[in-house]
């Protein structure tokens, strides 16, 4: 057939099928262009819609009713048509990357764009950057799939889309690359780094082509007035860290509360955020929206301290409520707003106490932005580079690093899981993070696990279980069904069981806690988990559902893989 022949020639000419890496590079540029254009449209559209919602000198009633109506409309759309478009977009992009082989549907992209535009235009205190990341990842995913690329390549292109989106949304191409590697992939040495850089740069160029060379924030030149200021920046790190922890804990607790409400109310839940915004906006209209204009004003040090403190507190309450109630929107922008207000407050206080030794409060607001970002999002390297790129002021780097690291440390101590990991855990999803990257090195569990095995049924008799242990040459085994794992039982439990215990299910505790591991974990980590739990076999489960068993990994199999002999059952107790 001539058509097929022509296609074949074209594929041969492009090397499409044979050289997928080259296609990936080419597609990275295309993704950068499309994502850049889409994010620019998103920025402009939300801005224009917001102006329509709140024209200059508009009536006070708008401040109360517009957020409520906006959240009701977007809440209905999210409930009825776009359930996957809720929330920030960062965890969703990570779900797609680690659980769904990079799959994000076109419907989700459209839903995210539409619902976020409505939400943000109505003045909800959420940001546009997180949603942009999901939109970017989605575009990358759709394009890669349409071009018929392999699963691995589709997955590899998801962070490429994320990077392009963040570069355009924040006007920070380097920070976008770092964020994709540090947060999305959790690996600063990921092999896709070339594509990530390429898409970020392309998207940034598109942004500049259309919107020009304007930084997100305009900051007066920063100056360190006195070395003693480093102490004040350290205090800012502590305050920023504590504020970040408050923000994250409030958001997570409110989200748990909202999730407990009846499912039928899901469409109306976003309106709770809208109502709160309406009430707060009656008191202080500055709390509406992402508030970058006011961040700019704090950065110039021209905002009364009372207003700055009030806005910091209001935003710390408003954003978690809006997010947890199920609105579509991110927390990046609000993090920067809160950071600027907290930093401004500390700066004003320091300037009052030590007027000759401290800079304008604007300098502290600037550092505060990075501090809150490092504390909330927990990407310290990204936050330093991001603030540097936003302000283009190199002299801010050292105070920024001091403050960020202190905030990061405090946040890490008081809130164990980073926010996106914690949000995923609330969904029952276990995502790898930058902090858990070490766990993912070496021989992977997937390479040594037994896949064609079943768990012990709960109804299995103890004698059968003993025979099972003998058959598999181990002293512990998962219990339940492949899609509904409920626990583990050991030979030691069977040997010491009371006479009235007949079946395995009766040996399981009430909490149904059991050790597990994922297929992409290294074998060394499996050994650690076995040691700490006193078992010589451990179930390998899905990251999306820990009750779904993919297989079992045994101590002897790992030892054999490492080339040493198995040590027969010394661990089972």
């Amino acid at each position: 057939m001539p058509n097929r022949s022509l296609r074949g020639k074209l594929w041969n000419w492009t090397g499409f099928r044979a050289r997928e890496d080259q296609v990936t590079i080419l597609l990275s540029v295309v993704i950068g262009v499309i994502v850049g254009l889409t994010v620019v449209a998103f920025i402009l559209l939300t801005g224009r819609l917001a102006t329509r919602m709140y024209p200059p000198e508009s009536a006070v009633w708008r401040r109360f009713f517009v957020p409520i109506i906006g959240t009701l409309v977007s809440g209905f759309l999210l409930y009825k048509y776009f359930p996957n478009a809720r929330g920030s977009g960062i965890p969703q992009a990570k779900f797609a990357l680690f659980i769904q082989d990079g799959y994000i549907g076109l419907k989700t992209i459209i839903g995210k764009f539409l619902c976020c535009s409505i939400t943000l235009a109505s003045g909800i205190a959420l940001g546009r950057e997180g949603p942009s990341v999901q939109i970017g990842a989605g575009i990358a995913s759709v394009l890669a799939r349409r071009y018929g690329l392999s699963k691995a390549t589709v997955k590899a292109l998801v962070p490429v889309g994320c990077s392009a989106a963040l570069a355009a949304a924040f006007n920070t191409p380097i920070a976008a690359v770092l964020f994709s590697l540090e947060e999305i992939l959790g690996d600063l040495h990921a092999p896709v780094i070339g594509s990530v850089v390429l898409s970020s740069a392309t998207s940034w160029m598109v942004l500049h082509l259309i919107l020009g060379d304007e930084p997100l924030f305009h900051v007066p030149a920063y100056q360190l007035v006195n070395p003693a200021e480093f102490g004040v920046y350290a205090i800012l790190g502590v305050v920023g860290g504590l504020a970040s922890v408050c923000f994250v804990k409030l958001l997570l607790r409110l989200r748990v509360w909202f999730r407990q409400l009846p499912a039928a109310t899901a469409w109306a839940q976003p309106a709770v955020g809208g109502l709160l915004m309406g009430i707060l906006a009656l008191m202080r209209p500055e709390v509406l929206g992402v508030g970058y204009d006011y961040v700019d004003r704090v950065l110039t040090g021209d905002f009364p301290i009372k207003v700055v403190v009030i806005l910091a507190v209001m935003k710390i309450i408003a954003t978690p409520t809006c997010y947890s109630s199920g609105n579509a929107g991110g927390i990046f922008g609000p993090s920067l707003f809160i950071g600027a207000m907290v930093g401004g407050s500390v700066g004003y206080a320091a300037h009052m106490v030590l007027p000759n030794m401290t800079a304008n409060p604007g300098a502290y607001a600037l550092v505060g932005m990075g501090t809150a970002f490092a504390g909330i999002v927990r990407t310290p390297l990204t936050s330093v580079i991001m603030i540097f790129e936003m302000t283009r002021d190199y002299s801010i780097i050292v105070p920024l690093m001091i403050s960020n690291l202190i905030s990061f440390f405090i946040s890490q101590q008081l809130q164990r899981e980073p926010i996106y990991e914690a949000l995923a855990l609330q969904e029952g999803v276990y995502l790898p993070t930058g902090e858990s990257r070490d766990e993912l090195e070496g021989i992977h569990v997937g390479e040594v696990m037994l896949t064609n095995v079943d768990p012990l049924p709960e109804t299995a008799h103890l004698v059968e279980a003993k025979a099972f242990f003998d058959e598999y040459a181990c002293h512990a085994w998962p219990v339940g069904q492949k899609n509904n794992l409920v626990g583990m039982v050991s030979s030691h439990q069977i040997e010491t069981a009371d006479d009235d215990v007949n079946v395995v299910g009766e040996l399981l505790g009430t909490t149904h806690d059991y050790p597990f591991i994922h297929a992409d974990h290294p074998a060394s980590y499996a050994l650690e988990r076995m040691g700490s739990n006193g078992v010589d076999a451990i179930p390998v489960v899905s990251r999306a559902n820990i009750h779904q068993m993919f297989g079992v990994v045994r101590l002897n199999d790992i030892l054999a893989k490492y080339g040493v002999a198995g040590v027969p059952g010394v661990l089972a107790k």
């Binding site: 889409t38 071009y147 018929g148 259309i210």
Partner: protein, 380 residues
């Protein structure tokens, strides 16, 4: 039409043909670009209109003297249209009016980094530097403004800026610098009759009454009916020490505006000085002596008043001087020595005046204006 992928492990076996897909992608890019440009154009238009409204509001508030409110309005205009230098300069001026010089300075620096040769930017920088007390910098910015770029009416802007610089120098008593600015200004406004009186007035301030008199003479030739030109000439003649000519000039002015009380006062004053002037030719020895007695009396009284106000300036030398003056005033010289005594009185009066200047400065109250003028004349 769908196609079947041949590579192993692909997610979708079915997809659009590569060419058609690529065309579709190109179409999406073109459509998105068109949407973006359209949105951007709309945004720019709306932002520009909002910024203009805010700027006009700021101008109105500033005119009402509500500088802090004007700052907010200009700040909004600047935030909406950052590349508009006018809004930024308006903001800086409002900040200056509100006394927020520290905030104005970085904005000014930013503008000058990008528009270092802009006349208006340098003019406002000069005003800011003047407000901050940076005299040298202000002087430098004024000159950059004069020779900088102006969008239109270049000569007019240069003249106005130079006049502002002269005003600035006048406030600081920099007579030589004023004169240095006035000479090019005089050339620049040679054909501008409206500004000539101002130039002449400034020559007087700059301590160049001869040039001032020349300008007034030219003006009188051009506009002989304008009394202000005669009045100006009278002041110039007073400064030159030609009290008779000053008297004539004021008399001419009064003839053209007889109901002007100020002119009457100045005429009387010129008359007083004429009657006090001991250097007039053909004056009899007795008249000269009596005028020197009056001058010595005035100088002595002036120093006494000065020492009352500044007792720390008094010492034995001043006491001796006053004592000498008292002796001279109380004695009446023999007829053949009148001329010598008159000269001696003038010397003593000048010594007393110098003492007075070093103790209390050369300034005098309006009603004691005659003495400095006489002393200047004597110094000539």
């Amino acid at each position: 039409m769908s196609t079947v992928s041949s590579i192993p492990g692909t997610v979708h076996r079915r997809g659009l043909p590569i060419v058609r897909l690529s065309v579709a992608v190109a179409g999406v890019i073109a459509a998105l670009f068109a949407v973006d440009m359209s949105l951007e154009k709309t945004e720019q238009g709306e932002l520009a209109a909002q910024a203009l409204r805010a700027d006009r509001n700021g101008e109105s508030l500033l005119a009402q003297g509500r500088a802090p409110d004007a700052v907010d309005a200009f700040r909004k205009a600047h935030a909406l249209e950052r590349e508009n230098v006018k809004y930024e300069l308006d903001l800086i001026q409002a900040l200056m009016a509100a006394g927020k010089l520290q905030e104005a300075q970085p904005l000014m620096t930013d503008i000058l980094e990008e528009q270092s040769n802009d006349g208006e930017a340098n003019l406002i920088a000069a005003r800011l530097a003047a407000k901050e007390g940076h005299i040298v910098a202000a002087d430098s910015y004024y000159h950059r403004a004069i020779y900088g770029g102006w969008p239109n009416n270049v000569a007019q802007h240069q003249i106005q800026t130079r006049l502002e610089l002269i005003e600035f120098l006048t406030q600081r008593g920099k007579q030589n610098e004023i004169l240095a600015e006035l000479l090019p200004l005089q050339e620049q406004v040679a054909k501008n009759a409206g500004l000539q009186p101002e130039v002449a007035r400034l020559f007087l301030i700059a301590g160049s009454p001869g040039r001032a008199a020349d300008v007034f003479h030219q003006l009188i030739r051009a506009q002989p009916k304008d009394f202000t030109n005669y009045a100006g000439l009278g002041e110039a003649e007073l400064a030159l020490g030609d009290f008779r000519a000053a008297h004539n000039a004021f008399a001419n002015a009064l003839a053209r505006n007889s109901k002007n009380p100020t002119l009457k006062e100045r005429l009387e004053f010129a008359n007083l000085l004429s009657n006090l002037d001991p250097t007039v030719r053909w004056l009899s020895a007795q008249d000269k002596y009596s005028r020197t007695v009056q001058i010595l009396q005035m100088a002595s009284t002036d120093l006494t008043q000065c020492l009352t106000n500044h007792p720390q300036s008094g010492n034995d030398a001043t006491t001796q001087l006053l004592s000498k003056a008292q002796t001279a005033l109380s004695s009446s010289p023999p007829k053949q020595q009148v001329n010598e005594v008159a000269e001696s009185n003038l010397n003593l009066a000048q010594q007393i005046w110098r003492t007075r200047v070093s103790a209390c400065g050369s300034g005098a109250a309006p009603d004691e204006e005659a003495l400095p003028l006489i002393m200047d004349k004597l110094a000539q």
